[in-house]
């Protein structure tokens, strides 16, 4: 489940060794420069939207469509921020997004870890059925549930509430599956030892299993947080009052305004990306493992 990546260390040593050490210099340059060209072009293409996001969010909207484009950040950052706050209450929106994402992540992760552990470690009646349901849930597109869940939320009077964003998706099949796979590799001897020492099941889980499984749980937490942070269609359906909007919904409203505040929009996009970016900087390894889910078994 740990996919080593971006992160260097082992990866660096693992590359394919170069084939001939003593190729003539000119030949080597001729062979290698196109490769660097490709990499540089790909990097520039990857970075342009980010650069533009940063530059545009520090200029006036009227400066974003002139020729030539501003190539350096301007001095309008605070004005843009002020307008963003005024038009959609961006501070509140940010708080809402963090609140929903954190609450969802906490509860959903607990449920995933518990269920994954239960499925991997014990045999119990209904285990097969539950496993089957989880596999089916993973295969069925979430959109099937849009209409019936909407109706459920409507009849429960939950529309325009955060519980409607959080509760229906708390049991995250993919998260559970990820945890189950992780716990299958868990050293059984550790659990046995704890039992022999007379620890209860819950204590074993809490004291032995959780600390050892920390890296994979970190990956789960990050994956869960990102999926909630990015969630758009469901909050769009559920939320009506502007002061409850999450970031994606707020950005969408800004596009719909009659006079679009483009620099505010770019600043909003920047602020929406920033938390994920920081998360990535701090937890690169877990971040990537979480994003990739079970793609490659490391």
């Amino acid at each position: 489940m740990t996919t080593e990546l971006i992160v260097t260390g082992r990866a660096r040593r693992r590359g394919i060794p170069s084939r001939r050490r003593h190729e003539p210099l000119l030949r080597r340059i001729a062979l290698r420069s196109p490769v660097y060209l490709v990499l540089v072009v790909a990097s520039v293409l990857s970075l342009i939207p980010f650069a533009w996001m940063v530059i545009a969010s520090t200029h006036k909207t009227s400066d974003l469509f002139v020729t030539p484009l501003p190539l350096l950040p301007g001095g309008e950052f605070w004005q843009n921020l002020g307008r963003l706050q005024e038009s959609v209450g961006f501070g509140q929106v940010m708080i809402n997004s963090v609140l929903v994402a954190v609450l969802y992540t906490v509860f959903s992760s607990i449920i995933s870890v518990m269920c994954g552990y239960g499925l991997a470690t014990y045999r119990f009646r209904g285990r097969g059925v539950l496993m089957g349901v989880i596999l089916v849930t993973m295969m069925i597109p979430m959109q099937v549930l849009l209409v019936p869940l909407f109706q459920m939320m409507a009849s429960a009077g939950w529309i325009d509430s955060y519980q409607a964003l959080i509760i229906p998706f708390l049991a995250n099949a993919f998260g559970i599956f990820l945890m189950r796979q992780g716990f299958l590799d868990f050293p059984t001897t550790l659990i046995e030892a704890a039992r022999i020492d007379g620890a209860s099941e819950l204590r074993t889980f809490y004291r032995i299993v959780l600390p050892v499984a920390r890296p994979q749980i970190a990956a789960l937490i990050i994956y869960t947080f990102i999926s909630q942070w990015n969630s758009f269609i469901w909050p769009l359906l559920m939320l009506n009052s502007e002061d409850k909007y999450t970031i994606p919904v707020a950005l969408n409203t800004m596009i719909g305004l009659s006079r679009v505040d483009y620099s505010g929009l770019m600043l909003g996009s920047l602020l929406a990306t920033l938390p994920l970016f920081l998360l990535f900087l701090v937890f690169q390894k877990q971040f990537v493992a979480g994003l990739l889910g079970g793609a490659v078994k490391g």
């Binding site: 990546l5 971006i6 660096r12 693992r14 060794p17 170069s18 084939r19 490769v35 660097y36 990499l39 790909a42 990857s46 970075l47 342009i48 939207p49 980010f50 020729t67 449920i111 269920c115 239960g118 991997a120 014990y122 045999r123 119990f124 009646r125 285990r127 539950l130 596999l135 849930t137 295969m139 597109p141 959109q143 549930l145 849009l146 209409v147 019936p148 049991a171 993919f174 299958l184 059984t188 659990i191 099941e201 889980f205 990015n230 269609i233 994606p248 950005l251 969408n252 596009i255 770019m266 920047l270 990306t273 994920l276 970016f277 994003l291 079970g294 793609a295 490659v296 078994k297 490391g298």
Partner: protein, 311 residues
């Protein structure tokens, strides 16, 4: 999502009896705790997955337009085949599938292969930069692309202008809107797939390269006869997740083009959204949803088939 299953399956096969060891050793002695651990998830799945799923299937046999619910049997499903917008939205998905996915996977494989060469300098730096787009919030990056793709004075047209290419009406011309969607998705997901493929490349044992070299294989031969076959499961994973992604595309098109112009970039989910929540034709929306289920299932089956076949 589906695909991770299969690739996981492979992992399980490699270390057989993972379940069995853990399960059997603890079996018999204690069964109850397992149930308690799984109970919250099971209850939630029952209420918020199984129940609405059943409702939506049931409702797809009813006409629910205008608040009245009348049983119409398979009419909603028959309607799917006569509805030009269903065809159009499936066409968009198909276009993404046959144009965007191959381009993206080829780019990802190429970049991953390059970044797996030991002599390339600043590899981790390049890797990081090319992966960055995968970190952006879906809606945020769509917004940025929409602003960049503004026809008059938008950043993209200005960059094109530097190279002497005329301004393109990205979002209002049917074909350019499709190009815009394809370009955006490719930007967002290439680095992500590259990283998965890179992890797959790194799992190829060095001895295989050695053996190929001893047998006198050239670069291309090594690539086609060693790298590609070894990478097969990972490639299938990326292709299948991208395929399912194409079927479930919503955010990008909703923000970039709203499905327009003239429904040129309408996706099945976008259509479902419009039918369900703008026209409040719930029964028909459910039928569209189940069409997606069937298509996803077909893809999953094909995927299992292909995976099982020995190369």
């Amino acid at each position: 999502m589906t695909a991770s299953l299969t690739v996981r399956e492979r992992g399980t096969r490699r270390a057989p009896g993972g379940t069995r060891t853990a399960g059997a050793r603890l079996a018999g002695r204690r069964q109850r705790p397992g149930l308690w651990f799984a109970l919250p998830a099971a209850a939630l799945l029952l209420i918020f997955f199984a129940y609405p799923l059943a409702t939506s299937l049931l409702q797809s046999f009813f006409s629910t337009k205008g608040g009245e619910s009348t049983f119409v049997g398979l009419d909603q499903y028959a309607r799917l085949f006569r509805d030009p917008l269903v065809l159009k939205s499936l066409g968009t998905a198909l276009l993404i599938l046959v144009v965007q996915v191959p381009i993206m996977i080829a780019l990802a494989v190429g970049l991953a292969y390059i970044l797996n060469q030991a002599w390339v300098r600043f590899r981790s730096g390049f890797r990081l930069i090319i992966f960055l787009p995968a970190i952006t919030t879906l809606v945020a990056y769509s917004v940025v692309f929409r602003v960049m793709m503004t026809t008059d004075g938008g950043a993209l047209n200005q960059i094109l202008g530097v190279f002497g290419a005329g301004p393109i009406d990205w979002l209002n011309n049917e074909w350019w809107a499709r190009v815009a969607v394809i370009a955006s998705i490719t930007w967002r997901w290439t680095g992500y797939n590259m990283v998965i493929i890179l992890a797959g490349l790194q799992a190829i044992p060095a001895e295989l390269y050695e053996a190929a070299r001893i047998d006198g294989a050239g670069r291309w031969q090594t690539f086609w006869h060693i790298v590609v076959p070894q990478l097969r499961p990972v490639l299938i994973f990326t292709i299948v997740t991208s395929t399912i992604g194409a079927l479930q595309l919503f955010d990008e098109n909703f923000i970039l083009t709203g499905g327009g112009p003239n429904n040129a970039t309408l996706t099945p989910v976008l259509y479902l959204y419009k039918v369900g929540f703008q026209q409040f034709d719930f029964g028909y929306a459910d039928a569209i949803a189940w069409m997606l289920v069937v298509l996803t299932a077909i893809i999953a089956v094909i995927q299992f088939r292909v995976l099982r076949e020995k190369p």
